[in-house]
C-alpha cells in the first residue's frame, strides 16, 4: 500500500510539467511551426536548442526557453542583462579584454565591450584547419557564433514591429526561425519574418495577413497586452495550418513534442537514478531500515519517465527508437536500467539496482552533453531511412552493447568483492549475473551484426565490408567469445572473467564511438574533441584500475590459500 502511494507520487512528479503553459499566453508562441534542418518543429524546440547551445541549459533562471526567446524577439533590449553565454575558458574573456574568472555564464552587456576583439580573433581562427585549432580557438569561435546568432535574433522581429521594410543587412540572416511558409506545397520555401518583408508587395494576400498578425502580436507583447499577443498568434497558427493542410503539420505531434520538452523525461530519469543509487548506498550503510525497496522504486520510477521519453520520440518522428548517436546513448541507458530491474526482481539482489542505476545515469549524462550540439530529432539521410533490417539491426546492437556494459559493471563489483574478501562467496553470485549479462551482450551483438550484414547485402550487395563500425562490432563478438572459451578451457577464473568483462566495456566504447574518432567509414557521424578526451581518459582509467586491482586480487587470493579464486 505504502509502496503504491510512493510510486503514484513519483510518477506524478515525473510526468508533470513544470510549466503547463498551454493555458498561458505563451502557448500559441510555443506552437509556432518552424522549418529547420528539414524538420517542422514547434518553436519551443527551436528555443530550447538555441538556449542549450548558448548556455548549456534548457531554461534561464526558472524561465522556460520559449519565454526567454519571446523576450529576445519582442523586447530585445530587456535581455541584454540575461546571463546566457556560457564561457568554458576564462582565457577567452581575457583575450576579449572582459573581466571575469572561471567558467561561467555572462550577459550580452557584460561581453559587449569586448565584441570587437572577439570578432577579430574569430576572423583569424575561422580559416584555420581543424587540426590547427586548440581548445582556446574552438571556444572563441563557439562564443563568436553564439553572439552572432543572438545578434540576428535581436533583429528577427524588429522591422515587423516597426512596420518598416527589413534592414538590408538582416534580410538573409541565417539562424532565424523560418515560420512563414511562402506557398502551400512541400517544395516551397519557408522564410523568417524579416525575409518575408523583403519580398514586399509580391506576396499573396493570405501571407500578407499573416504578417500583419505577427506584427500585431509583436506590438502587443512589447506593450504588455498578453491576451492580444496570444490571440494574434493563435490566429496566425490557424491561418498557416489551413494553408498547409492537416497532413503537412500534425497538430497532435506539435503538442506531443511540447509536452515532451516540458517534462524533460531523460533529465528526470537521470535524477531518479541518482536518487536510487544514493538510497542504495544508504541502505548498505544502514541495513536495518530496509531502504533497498525504496531504492528499487526510485529506479523503477526513473525508468517510467525514461520509457515515456523513448515512446514520445518514436511517436513524434514516426520511427524506431534508435536512429542516431544521441538515441543510442538513451537506449543503451534504458536497456541497462531494465536489465538491472529484472535482475533485482528475479534474483532478489541489489546488484541489479546498482548496475542499472550506474548504466542509466552515466549514459543519460553523456546523452545530455551530446544534446547540446543541436536538435536530437534530426532527419535521416537517404541511406538510413525506412529499412526494416537497418532499424532492427541498430536496436539489436544497442541491446548487445548494454549487455556488455552491465557485465562490465559487475566485473568491477567482482574485483572489489575479491579485494575486500578473497574468499568472498558473494563474488560467485555476482559472477553468475556477470555471466548472464555477458551472454546476453554476445548474443545480441552477434544477431545485430549479422542483421547489419543482411541490410548491407540488400542495400549495397555486400554482406561485410570491413567498415570500422563493423570491425568494432566484430571485435566485441570476438572478445566475448574469447572470454567464454577461455573460461571453458580453464585459462581464466572469476577474476580473469571480471577483468575481461571490463575489457568488454572498453571494446564497446571503442566500437560505439571510438571508430567515430578515426573519422573514416560509413558510420562516422560526427563527434566532438571534448568527447574524445573523455573517452581516452575513461579507457586509461579502466586500464589503470585493472593494472592495480587484478595483481592485488591474485596476491590476496594466494595469501588466503584460496586456490579456486585464481
Amino acid at each position: 500500500m505504502k509502496r503504491s502511494i510512493f510510486l503514484a507520487l513519483l510518477a506524478s512528479w515525473l510526468l508533470s510539467s513544470a510549466v503547463l503553459s498551454a493555458a498561458t499566453h505563451l502557448g500559441p508562441f510555443q506552437r509556432l511551426v518552424v522549418l529547420e534542418e528539414g524538420r517542422k518543429k514547434p518553436l519551443d524546440t527551436f528555443a530550447r536548442n538555441l538556449l542549450k547551445q548558448f548556455s548549456g541549459r534548457a531554461s534561464l533562471a526558472g524561465m522556460s526557453a520559449s519565454a526567454w526567446l519571446a523576450r529576445v524577439f519582442f523586447t530585445p533590449e530587456k535581455t541584454f542583462d540575461d546571463k546566457i553565454f556560457l564561457v568554458n575558458q576564462p582565457d577567452v574573456l581575457a583575450a576579449m579584454g572582459v573581466e571575469g574568472e572561471g567558467r561561467g555564464r555572462f550577459s550580452f552587456s557584460r561581453l559587449r565591450p569586448g565584441l570587437g576583439r572577439l570578432h577579430e580573433l574569430a576572423f583569424q581562427y575561422a580559416n584555420l584547419q581543424d587540426s590547427g585549432k586548440g581548445r582556446f580557438e574552438n571556444e572563441t569561435l563557439r562564443l563568436f557564433y553564439n553572439v552572432s546568432a543572438y545578434y540576428n535574433l535581436l533583429e528577427a522581429f524588429r522591422s515587423i514591429q516597426a512596420g518598416s521594410a527589413a534592414h538590408p543587412d538582416r534580410q538573409s540572416a541565417s539562424g532565424l526561425p523560418a515560420i512563414v511558409p511562402l506557398g502551400g506545397g512541400p517544395g516551397e520555401p519557408w522564410l523568417s519574418p524579416a525575409q518575408v518583408l523583403a519580398h514586399g508587395a509580391s506576396l499573396p494576400a493570405t501571407v500578407q495577413r499573416e504578417i500583419s498578425l505577427l506584427a500585431q502580436a509583436s506590438r502587443a507583447y512589447a506593450t504588455g497586452r498578453k491576451n492580444d499577443f496570444g490571440q494574434a498568434l493563435t490566429a496566425f497558427n490557424r491561418s498557416v495550418q489551413v494553408r498547409l493542410g492537416p497532413q503537412a503539420v500534425r497538430s497532435s505531434k506539435i503538442s506531443m513534442e511540447i509536452y515532451y520538452n516540458h517534462i524533460d523525461p531523460f533529465f528526470k530519469a537521470e535524477l531518479a537514478y541518482g536518487l536510487a543509487l544514493l538510497i542504495l548506498l544508504l541502505s548498505m550503510a544502514l541495513p536495518r531500515f530496509r531502504l533497498d525497496r525504496l531504492s528499487a522504486l526510485c529506479l523503477l520510477g526513473g525508468s517510467l519517465a525514461h520509457t515515456f521519453g523513448l515512446i514520445a520520440r518514436m511517436l513524434i518522428m514516426n520511427r524506431p527508437p534508435v536512429t542516431n548517436l544521441y538515441e543510442t546513448f538513451v537506449f543503451v541507458a534504458w536497456t541497462g536500467v531494465v536489465m538491472g530491474l529484472l535482475m533485482a526482481w528475479w534474483q532478489k539482489t541489489e546488484l541489479g539496482i546498482l548496475a542499472g542505476g550506474i548504466a542509466g545515469i552515466v549514459f543519460l549524462a553523456i546523452a545530455g552533453r551530446y544534446s547540446l550540439d543541436g536538435d536530437t530529432l534530426g532527419m535521416l539521410a537517404a541511406v538510413l531511412d525506412s529499412n526494416l533490417w537497418l532499424t532492427t539491426h541498430v536496436v539489436t546492437i544497442s541491446l548487445g552493447y548494454a549487455g556488455c556494459v552491465v557485465a562490465g559493471i559487475f566485473g568491477h563489483v567482482v574485483i572489489i568483492q575479491k579485494l575486500l574478501d578473497p574468499r568472498s562467496t558473494a563474488a560467485a553470485g555476482t559472477t553468475r549475473l556477470l555471466y548472464a549479462a555477458l551472454a546476453f551482450g554476445l548474443a545480441f551483438t552477434s544477431i545485430g551484426t549479422v542483421m547489419g550484414g543482411i541490410w548491407a547485402d540488400q542495400s549495397w550487395g555486400r554482406f561485410w565490408g570491413w567498415d570500422p563500425k563493423e570491425n568494432g562490432a566484430l571485435l566485441i563478438i570476438i572478445w566475448c567469445a574469447i572470454l567464454f572459451h577461455a573460461r571453458l578451457a580453464g585459462w581464466i577464473g572469476q577474476i580473469g572473467l571480471a577483468a575481461g568483462s571490463i575489457g568488454a566495456i572498453i571494446a564497446v566504447v571503442m566500437a560505439w564511438f571510438g571508430v567515430n574518432l578515426l573519422g573514416v567509414g560509413l558510420h562516422a557521424y560526427g563527434f566532438t574533441t571534448g568527447a574524445a578526451r573523455g573517452l581516452l581518459a575513461f579507457v586509461g582509467g579502466e586500464l589503470l584500475f585493472l593494472a592495480v586491482a587484478v595483481p592485488l586480487c591474485k596476491k590476496n587470493a594466494a595469501e588466503s590459500g584460496g586456490n579456486k579464486a585464481q
Binding site: Q347, W460, I482
Partner: protein, 268 residues
C-alpha cells in the same frame, strides 16, 4: 575402417579441436581487426584490406612474417570443424549451442565461398542511354586497372529517368531513384532501382550506387552490379544463428526461473 586407423585419425585431428586453439585464433583475429582498423584510418580501406583483412601473411618491416586475418580465420574454421566432430557435446539439451556453432561454420564457409566466386561490376548510364556492358571493379567499387575487364550482362538496361529529392530546406538527401527499362531476351519491362531497393535478376543484383549531374540538367546514374551465386549462404547461416541463440537462451531462462534462489542471499 579399423579401430586402429580411427584412433590414429583421432590422435592427429583431436588437437585441432582444442579450446585453447580457439582462444588463440580468436585473440589473433581480435589483434588483426584492431590493427587493420587503425591502419585503415591512415591508409584507406583498400590498403588495409590488402595488408590485413584479405591476407594470409603480413610481412612486418618486410622480414618478419605474421599471420594475416585469412590465416587466422582459416585456423578458426578448421578448429570449429574439428570441434563439431570431436568435442561438441551432442546432447539435445545443448541443441541451441550446437546450432550456433554450425551456423558459424556455415557463415565462415559461405564467406570463403563468396570471396572466391562473387564479382562486382559498375555501370554508369546517362538518362536515355542503354547498355549491356559493365566494368569489373573490386570490392570497394574501385576500377581495378586502366582498361578494366568488361562483361556482357544477360540483361540490357536503359536509364529512363533519374530523380533525387532532399529534405526540404537542406542538403540532406532523402532519396535517389532510377527508373529503368530492362530487356531480357525478347521481353521488356520497367523497373525502379533506388536506395535500399535493388533490382534482382538471376544471380545479378543492381544497386543504386551514385549519380552525377553535368550542370546542364543532364543526369547520370551509377549502379553497382553484383553477381553472387552464394548470396543465400549467409542468410541460412544467420537463420541458424538466430534459432540457436533463441533456443539456448530460452533454455537458460527456463532453468533460471525454475531454481530462483532465496532472497537476499547474494548481498555483498
Amino acid at each position: 575402417m579399423t579401430e586402429n586407423k580411427k584412433r590414429t585419425i583421432s590422435r592427429l585431428f583431436r588437437p585441432l579441436a582444442s579450446l585453447k586453439l580457439t582462444v588463440i585464433a580468436l585473440l589473433l583475429m581480435a589483434a588483426l581487426v584492431i590493427a587493420g582498423t587503425v591502419y585503415q584510418a591512415a591508409n584507406g580501406l583498400y590498403a588495409a584490406q590488402e595488408k590485413f583483412f584479405a591476407s594470409w601473411i603480413i610481412w612486418l618491416f618486410g622480414i618478419l612474417p605474421l599471420p594475416g586475418l585469412l590465416l587466422a580465420a582459416t585456423l578458426l574454421f578448421l578448429n570449429l570443424l574439428a570441434a563439431t566432430i570431436f568435442r561438441l557435446p551432442y546432447h539435445w539439451r545443448q541443441g541451441g549451442l550446437l546450432l550456433v556453432h554450425y551456423g558459424l561454420l556455415l557463415l565462415m564457409g559461405g564467406g570463403f565461398f563468396i570471396a572466391l566466386t562473387a564479382q562486382e561490376y559498375s555501370l554508369t548510364l546517362r538518362e536515355g542511354e542503354s547498355s549491356r556492358l559493365a566494368l569489373r571493379v573490386d570490392e570497394q567499387g574501385i576500377q581495378i586497372d586502366r582498361r578494366p575487364e568488361k562483361v556482357v550482362l544477360p540483361v540490357g538496361i536503359k536509364l529512363l529517368d533519374f530523380e533525387k529529392s532532399m529534405h526540404p530546406g537542406t542538403g540532406i538527401p532523402r532519396s535517389f531513384t532510377s527508373r529503368v527499362e530492362i530487356t531480357t531476351g525478347r521481353t521488356k519491362r520497367m523497373a525502379v532501382i533506388s536506395m535500399n531497393r535493388p533490382l534482382r535478376y538471376r544471380e545479378y543484383t543492381f544497386y543504386q550506387s551514385s549519380y552525377s549531374e553535368d550542370g546542364m540538367g543532364g543526369e547520370s546514374s551509377t549502379f553497382s552490379v553484383v553477381s553472387n551465386t552464394g548470396r543465400w549462404l549467409p542468410y541460412i547461416a544467420s537463420a541458424m544463428l538466430f534459432l540457436g541463440l533463441a533456443v539456448h537462451f530460452l533454455g537458460m531462462l527456463a532453468a533460471a526461473l525454475k531454481k530462483s534462489r532465496p532472497r537476499g542471499s547474494e548481498m555483498p
